[in-house]
Amino acid sequence: MHLAELERWFWQTVRTRGAPPSGLDEWLTGSARQTPTERLAVYHVAYWQRQVAALANSFPRLQALLGPQRFERLMLAYIEACPGTEPCIEWCGRGLVEFLAKRNDIAPLELGVARLEWGGVESLLAADPPSVAELPHQLGERLAACRLVLVPSLRTVHVSLESLAAFAPGAHETGGTSADSNVLVAFFRPRFAVIHLALEPDEAQALVLASEGRTIGAICEAFAALSEAEAVTRASSVLAAWFARRWVAKCAP
């Protein structure tokens, strides 16, 4: 017996879907109360159920939407297809959205809710920034040449308004906009709790530019559709809001 061979066998046996296979006597002994299969079943059950529980914790709205049985079936399929690689089990859902996106039995609404829930999880688990910047009033005209470093907990998710409504019922007004319209939702963690915010299209575009490392001057192009005076007011308001929400870790040329 070599250790590598035993560990490979154990991994493959525990990951066998359904009940553990028979013929474990070659590797394991029984006890007075349990057969080798019954003994291994303790690990078999723990492997699958612990991760399903962790995924339910990360995706409670998706679970409610799908129903517990369909949710469990999908999560078992996900765990089988995408065994976790992160040390912390809270991250085991990292590949779920991509997994669901490839399936033809998931509705766009359900996928959108999953995207939003994972955005919230990523925000919650993100590291603290080394610093949080305040609006640099003293820079004056030099502000346009500055770039923003955004805090790690700021995550954005692009979804339909319908998905957003399913994720947070009653929290968002569509204002006459078609439910098929898409919206950029920002997740952030000013202190401990995660907040989500649906962004107006111009702010969403500005945030995308900021995330790409563009200068503030370039970011302000997001407001070019407005008159010059309105654009200045709108850009100032949006940037001030970013700093107030503690989205900016650093603002420097």
Partner: protein
């Protein structure tokens, strides 16, 4: 290896930090001699967990207890994991750092469980070499915890306590003796829990764990979901007489009680120690 600290700390009694208690801990602190932080819950994170750990650390020593080192695994040790662990050690200066004597998956993939190792010489040598590497990287000795187990490998040539002792000696590491795990495994495999304790090298045991378990009929399950059972308290008394004063932590993860109840369980452990040591 330049181990820091070189001597085993004698810290008293405490419990594991749990998310459900974070808000209260931030509000009023903890009533314990020390607290245990599950390493993975604080790696690469910010927000409330780190704030809680900062708050607790201001008041009491902490220990870092991991579940993902997979010291018995055959895949290479994870440098990113060890680097994060080292960063946590540098920031919070834990009194003790521990993980489990087990393997935790295969290749790059995680089982999110503590899988038992065969008690054979090959595993002793393999684990000892990896533990020495970990200790060299961290610049300190670590503790290895005995896991509760539910299977026995046909290939076992050593008893579990012989295996633990051999690993500790060859790796020059410490042992975190989980008394509840000894009790659970002794019941499941039919060996004497006292013989287990008596078979461990006294000087290698640096820390103790206590927890509750569940009787599933055919086996006991170490689910950390109940108060410490009376039979485990009895075994703890024996451990105290054998190993002397050692920091002891209460693990309670499921059916979580109030913070006050957890602190009371620490008081119970303290009382048992007082009676055992006279």
């Amino acid at each position: 290896m330049n181990a820091v600290p070189a001597s085993k700390p004698c810290l008293g009694h405490g419990f594991g930090l749990r998310v459900e208690h974070y808000a209260e801990i931030l509000r009023r602190g903890v009533r314990a001699d020390l607290c245990e932080a599950l390493t993975e819950n604080f790696m690469g994170r910010g927000g409330r967990p780190l704030a809680v750990l900062e708050r607790v650390r201001r008041d009491v020593p902490i220990t870092l207890h991991g579940v993902s080192l997979s010291v018995g695994g055959i895949e290479p040790l994870s440098l990113p994991y060890l680097s994060e662990l080292k960063q946590l050690c540098n920031r919070f200066e834990p009194a003790l750092v521990s993980d489990h004597l087990c393997f935790g998956g295969f290749g790059p993939h995680r089982a999110y469980d503590l899988w038992p190792l065969p008690f054979v010489e090959e595993a002793v040598l393999h684990v000892a070499a990896r533990v020495r590497s970990v200790q060299d990287f961290l610049g300190r000795r670590i503790c290895l915890e005995n896991v509760s187990s539910y299977v026995e490998f046909r290939s076992n040539s050593l008893s579990e306590w012989q295996f633990l002792a051999a690993v500790a000696e060859q790796a020059d590491c410490w042992l975190l003796l989980d008394v509840n795990n000894v009790y659970v495994s002794a019941h499941n495999h039919g060996f004497s829990a006292r013989e287990y304790l008596d078979g461990l090298p006294r000087e290698r045991v640096a820390q103790l764990h206590l927890a509750g378990h569940r009787d599933c009929g055919s086996h006991l399950l170490d689910d950390h979901g109940a108060p410490v059972a009376s039979a485990v308290w009895e075994l703890y008394r024996h451990a105290r007489r054998r190993f002397g004063p050692r920091p002891t932590l209460i693990e309670w993860d499921e059916n979580l009680p109030t913070l006050e109840r957890l602190e009371q369980e620490c008081d119970n452990a303290r009382e048992v120690e007082r009676h055992a040591l006279g």
